[in-house]
């Protein structure tokens, strides 16, 4: 039987505020344990939480950016559970009236376009961080745990999608798009390494054509877009096999293990999903007027979709390039800085950024903002190609060197004597040598084998150590043959 997967994502994002959600402790990441706490975020009796206005604004901005309805009335609830990451034994969250509902995100996949619904966006507080001692750091098998409450109370936004996602690739594209939007809005740095963006996935299978959902598994520990895609792909395979063997899928939470490439049942303290939500008596309701919301809407910055349109209309880029360039805000910023500096064809900049730069960034696992190659490097290098100082082939070597050392291309060219050989006499001599040394290839060429010509050009490039002007070599070789 053919199955299709039904996937929904819950994306938790720490908002980029200075202070916590309900108290004035700093939200700074990476400080010594328990240095950023106070009676409110430690849940001391008698302390009173007061919501952070900026966090509320950030959630509404997000809602506006993904076409949600904004609730004119909203309130906070207590979600009750016992777990050592929350000192109060409840988490302040939202329940029946989240700040935003009913939005959507458009995705452009390689072959088709699709829309993923967003059920709701609500605001809550993050929990403390547990460090498990013993048992290789995993909760199962640990001897005991240390608790650091620096993170407890950091504003946390949860974006819940509809189960509209059908493939791991769509899940990845959706999560990346959400990140690009949030970074453009400036509401979060969405740093997955530091946990400021965390993605959980619900996934079930159903026979193609059936309406009802199958039994779902919840997937956790998806710490990168790559994990998200691979974890889901694994889960689809696992569930497909189980269903084909007539086994029932158990509703459970599963842990993705990136190194082992598998998911396994996550043993958590048995959660009765009986959170007994009730309105937090310490927090009064929020009411917004439409005018204020429209003000926030008017202040929205350019979003990835708009940016993409602009790249296509203003720079004449193909949709494929534009899509990739707006995937992260930093890439788009790099591109625009380069284009402004260059003044020439934007597509040339796009080619280098999506080609060599992306290749090295991925290979070395470097973020574009931390790259040694800045727009100025790229532009100077492309200008050297344009004025014939270097060939495209040499440029690739220079690029690699720039990426390693951050040296400017002109300096690299001088240092290594990489200038292009464009002297007609010099090239003519080399072409003569190539013809003399390769009689077989010359004969093949005369027999009509076009491929032999390419071989001879290659030989000439080799003799010039890649510095020969390819157009000139072509021209002279053709003439002499």
């Amino acid at each position: 039987m053919e199955y299709e997967s039904v996937i929904g994502l819950e994306i938790h994002v720490e908002l980029d505020t200075e202070s916590k959600m309900f108290c004035s402790c700093s939200t700074r990441f990476g400080e010594a344990p328990n240095t950023q706490t106070c009676p409110v975020c430690l849940g001391m009796p008698g302390s009173l939480p007061v919501p952070n206005k900026k966090a509320v604004e950030y959630v509404i901005r997000t809602g506006l950016a993904i076409f949600c309805d904004i609730s004119l009335f909203s309130q906070f609830h207590r979600k009750n559970y016992f777990y050592p990451d929350m000192p109060k034994n409840y988490q302040i969250s939202q329940y029946d009236i989240p700040l935003c509902i009913d939005g959507h995100v458009d995705l452009e996949m390689e072959e088709y376009a699709t829309t993923i619904g967003v059920t709701r966006i609500h605001l809550e507080e993050d929990t403390g961080k547990l460090l498990h001692i013993g048992g290789a750091g995993r909760i199962a098998g640990a001897d005991y745990s240390q608790v650091d409450f620096n993170r407890a109370g950091v504003p946390l936004m949860e974006i819940v999608s509809e189960p509209d996602i059908r493939t791991p690739e769509e899940a990845k594209a959706y999560a990346q798009k959400i990140r690009a939007i949030l970074v453009s809005l400036g509401v979060s740095d969405c740093n997955m390494d530091q946990g400021s963006m965390r993605v959980d996935a619900n996934i079930s299978l159903r026979p193609v054509g059936r309406e009802e959902f199958g039994v779902k598994a919840e997937l956790k520990n998806l710490n990168s877009f790559r994990s998200l895609q691979r974890g889901l792909a694994y889960e689809i395979e696992r569930q497909t096999k189980a269903l084909q063997n007539g086994e029932a899928i158990v509703q459970e939470t599963r842990h993705w293990d990136e190194t082992k490439n598998t998911t396994s049942t996550l043993r958590t303290k048995e959660y009765a999903h009986d959170y007994r939500y009730f309105p937090d008596p310490d927090l009064v309701p929020m009411e917004f007027d439409q005018e204020w919301i429209e003000g926030l809407r008017a202040e929205l910055p350019e979003l990835p979709d708009e940016r993409k349109e602009r790249y296509m209309s203003d720079f004449g880029l193909p949709a494929h390039d534009a899509n990739l360039l707006v995937e992260t805000k930093a890439t788009g910023d790099f591109f625009e800085a380069a284009v402004a500096l260059y003044g020439g064809d934007a597509k040339t900049m796009s080619n280098w950024i999506l080609g060599d730069l992306t290749y090295y960034l991925n290979a070395e696992n470097v973020e574009i903002d931390d790259s040694e190659v800045k727009p100025a490097h790229l532009v100077e290098m492309v200008k050297l190609i344009d004025d014939g100082t270097i060939s495209g082939k040499i440029a690739k070597e220079i690029f690699s060197e720039m990426f390693k050392t951050g040296k400017m291309p002109k300096a690299i060219v001088e240092e290594k004597g990489m200038t292009q050989i464009s002297g007609e006499d010099e090239i003519a001599k080399i072409v003569d040598d190539v013809i003399a040394q390769n009689p077989d290839a010359v004969k093949e060429f005369h027999d009509g084998r076009e491929r032999a010509f390419g071989f001879l050009v290659g030989q000439a490039m080799r003799l010039t150590k890649g510095r020969g002007n390819p157009q000139l070599i072509n021209k002279l070789l053709k003439g002499k043959l």
Binding site: T17, E18, S19, C23, S24, C25, S26, A32, P33, N34, T35, Q36, T37, C38, P39, L42, V50, P51, N52, K53, K54, A55, V56, Q75, N80, F82, Y83, P84, L130, L131, H132, I139, A140, A142, D143, Y144, S145, Q146, V147, D148, F149, R267, T268, K269, A272, D274, R276, P279, P281, L283, V284, P285, M286, E287
Partner: protein, 94 residues
């Protein structure tokens, strides 16, 4: 009976209370009386009454995003029965 012994056991477990059988029976009766009393409200016609989460007419009490002072870690940890590396220590969770 509006509340069963099973309900009492469930609520006790949620609140991490260890009750013996006699207590379960006793609390079931007591809670039943309380629920019955509160149930009187259900007799009212509340068709046109908005649910009220707060009795006081306050809204939009928000604070500016400003960092203030935190507790010194030794103060924050002062009441912790167990601590290590400036962290609260809790027994194994699962």
């Amino acid at each position: 009976m509006a509340i069963s012994e099973k309900d009492v056991k469930h609520v006790a477990w949620l609140a991490r209370l260890a009750l013996d059988d006699a207590e379960v029976e006793k609390f079931a009766k007591q809670l039943d009386v309380i629920l019955e009393h509160a149930g009187k409200i259900a007799e009212l016609d509340t068709e046109d009454v908005q649910p009220t989460a707060h009795a006081i007419p306050l809204k939009n009490v928000l604070r500016e995003d400003k960092v203030g002072r935190c507790l010194a870690p030794e103060v924050a940890l002062a009441n912790a029965p167990h601590q290590e590396d400036q962290a609260f220590v809790v027994p194994r969770i699962v």
